[in-house]
């Protein structure tokens, strides 16, 4: 067990996978000799050279389409896209091609491609470097959508992603990249579709996504001093989404709040709420609540930026209101 940053943990997984599988290659802007904007590929270029650490021009649609074709023909590309906002230029490739080719080819072609990079609000990055957009990909059949919240999960989920034959979006909250945590030194995988119960409790279930898991865990600790017992669930992947773990928790607590930094309409919280209403209405002692980031483009000024994200006060208030229902 080592204490590593989130980025060091995924680097460990990538480095090992590249050593074992010569078909894995990484593409992106500045991921070669530079080692990646976020040091995601630091030192790998020296080991594996320019074909496996392939710097590209700024043409996201082009290299996503190219990597889709590469995945179709026997190699395993990793697209290191820096910010998820950047690959929206390749959305047509992703939705019309990458996600559908396994189906269209009746399973004879596999799509082992990983698209990894940042999501999330922070650093006054403003609205072209703060997007999360995962509900869009979750809506589309064919994708795996991974949202790790800590370094240990990041390593296990990235290892699984690198061995997946389905297209994976591995989405790393920018404000988590330098967060530290204990990471097992050995090789391990965390399966997709298995939520983590990040904290056990009895009074209410809080489902939190990505960075919000950490924020909610801190608040749960504070509230425990006031005698409030919260169960915190980290789905870890939203496609597939482990609704069973959430439903089982709601059976115990009778109350559910979903905390998600990104937009509320047609979001993951909407999906969870609909599912629990459909299959667990009798278990509920209060209406299901959602707390999301504001449904507006992300502003630049730190004051405005903070105003759009669920924070300690708004989350605490939402939890207290839920308990009081």
């Amino acid at each position: 067990m080592n204490e590593l940053t989130f980025t060091e943990a995924t680097h460990q997984a990538l480095s090992k996978a590249m050593a074992e599988d010569p078909t894995i290659f990484v593409v992106g802007e500045g991921i070669g000799a530079r080692g990646g904007n976020f040091e995601t590929t630091a030192g790998l270029y020296e080991k594996y050279g320019p074909l496996r650490l392939c710097d590209t021009p700024i043409c996201e649609r082009g290299f996503i389409g190219m990597c889709t074709g590469a995945a179709m023909t026997g190699t395993r590309p990793v697209v290191d896209f820096m910010f998820l906002d950047f690959i929206l230029d390749g959305l047509g490739e992703l939705i019309n091609q990458t996600s559908k080719i396994q189906y269209m080819s009746s399973g004879r072609i596999r799509m082992p491609i990983v698209l990894r990079g940042c999501i999330g609000i922070g650093h006054s990055a403003a609205t072209h470097h703060s997007g999360s957009y995962y509900p869009i990909f979750t809506h589309i059949p064919g994708f795996r959508v991974v949202l790790p919240s800590n370094p240990s999960d990041a390593k296990g989920l990235f290892t699984t992603s690198l061995q997946s034959d389905d297209p994976v979006l591995f989405l790393e909250h920018r404000e988590l990249l330098n967060s530290r945590g204990h990471v097992p030194t050995e090789d391990y995988q965390i399966p997709f579709g298995k939520a983590a119960v990040a904290r056990n409790g009895t009074d209410a279930t809080i489902v939190a996504l990505s960075i919000m898991v950490n924020r909610v865990l801190d608040i749960a600790e504070d509230l425990s001093l006031e005698g409030v017992s919260l169960e915190v669930i980290d789905p870890r992947t939203v496609a597939p989404l482990d609704v069973d773990t959430i439903l089982n928790s709601v059976k115990k607590t009778g109350r559910l709040l979903i905390v998600d930094e990104t937009f509320m309409p047609c979001g993951i919280g909407s999906e969870i709420a609909a599912h629990i209403t459909e299959y667990g209405l009798d278990e509920l002692d209060a209406p299901i609540k959602r707390l999301n980031g504001a449904h507006i483009p992300t502003p630049y000024s730190p004051v405005l930026e903070q105003a759009v994200i669920p924070n300690k006060n708004s989350i605490t208030e939402a939890i207290k209101n839920l308990i009081a229902e």
């Binding site: 010569p22 078909t23 290659f25 074909l51 496996r52 392939c54 590209t56 021009p57 043409c59 649609r61 082009g62 290299f63 996503i64 389409g65 190219m66 990597c67 889709t68 074709g69 590469a70 995945a71 179709m72 023909t73 026997g74 190699t75 590309p77 047509g92 490739e93 019309n96 091609q97 080719i101 396994q102 189906y103 269209m104 080819s105 009746s106 399973g107 004879r108 072609i109 596999r110 059949p141 064919g142 795996r144 997946s164 034959d165 389905d166």
Partner: protein, 327 residues
């Protein structure tokens, strides 16, 4: 020098493939009218020489990425006609098990990596096939077929640029049939010489008569040799014309092109042209060629009967193949 025997075999293969594409497409056009085809059907009639000439230079390890007008590419790459006809009839025995239809024909076992309903992505995917080949050092070539309509699309620019800077073994084959659906290329571009754009990317660009199968075959052969020896991609512009409408059920002429133009291009039909060459070069006789035509018609008749009698897909399997795990 090509020996006489090799020349005979090559010409026979080229002629038979073109005749097969023509016969399948004519059958599909009739089937469309009869209501046997459930979705769109874009025929390749008039353009047979291009797929035939290019694919004659490929092996099963080479990958092709095709278009909405892709039956000819599939046949030239070696997909049996019954598998294509059954797919268009929506049957389980179709090449994509009824999941694709005309615009999503896949046979990865022999390097057909899909026809497509979206213009442009095939250029990028063929570039990716070139990347796989280079990374794994397999010697395989990626080939993109696309129309003049793709040339104004960003995928053309991004794909050619990526293939060029990485020296990838890729052949870009632009089938310039002068119209993107019904929009003239002369309207859609200030520079109607597509091959000339290759110089923007520092790669060779070659213009060929796309209705001359030997010219297409010769240009492709050279470009593919270059690709296989690490000399990078080539853009081939094959000038041609589709003599049927954009899609079956539409009009072959109209505000976008005249009857006169259509009739003029029919005189350049690649199949009679090649027939004349074969006969005048004394490679085969008229009788030999008639025999090939009759064989092909018989194969297509049988294929059509088989396809019509094939079972429908099982509804219970509809969710199969979305993910690997669901297999």
């Amino acid at each position: 020098m090509t020996s006489t025997r090799n020349k005979f075999e090559l010409y026979q293969t080229l002629y038979r493939t073109m005749a097969m594409i023509r016969a399948v497409e004519e059958r599909l056009a009739r089937s469309f009218m009869a209501g046997l085809i459930h979705g769109a059907c874009h025929t390749y009639i008039g353009e047979e020489a291009i797929a035939t000439g290019v694919c004659a230079c490929l092996t099963e390890d080479d990958s092709i990425f095709s278009t909405h007008r892709g039956h000819g590419h599939a046949l030239a790459k070696g997909v049996p006609p019954n598998k294509i006809i059954a797919e268009l009839y929506g049957r389980e025995t179709g090449i994509s098990n009824g999941r694709g239809g005309s615009m999503h024909l896949f046979a990865p076992e022999i390097g057909l990596m899909g026809t497509s309903g979206i213009v442009g992505p095939c250029i990028l995917q063929a570039t990716g096939a070139g990347y796989s080949s280079k990374l794994m050092n397999t010697g395989a070539v990626g080939v993109a077929f696309f129309g003049d309509g793709a040339v104004g699309n960003g995928a053309f620019h991004e794909g050619l640029n990526l293939a060029a800077i990485f020296d990838l073994p890729v052949l870009f084959v632009c089938e310039n049939n002068l119209y993107a659906t019904e929009v003239p290329f002369s309207y859609a571009s200030r520079n109607t010489n597509i091959a000339s754009r290759a110089s923007n990317y520092g790669i060779p660009g070659i213009q060929v008569d796309g209705n001359d199968v030997l010219a297409v075959q010769a240009a492709s052969s050279e470009a593919i040799s270059r690709a296989r020896t690490g000399e990078g991609p080539t853009l081939i512009e094959a000038k041609t014309y589709r003599t049927r409408p954009h899609a079956e059920g539409m009009s072959p002429t109209g505000v976008y092109r005249s009857e006169k133009e259509l009739e003029m291009w029919k005189t350049k039909d690649p199949i009679p042209r090649f027939r004349d060459v074969i006969i005048s070069d004394r490679i085969m006789t008229e009788k030999d060629l008639d025999q090939i035509d009759a064989d092909v018609r018989s194969v297509v008749d049988t294929a059509d009967k088989e396809a019509s009698a094939s079972p429908w897909p099982d509804k219970k399997t509809v969710a199969k193949y979305v993910y690997k795990e669901s297999k």
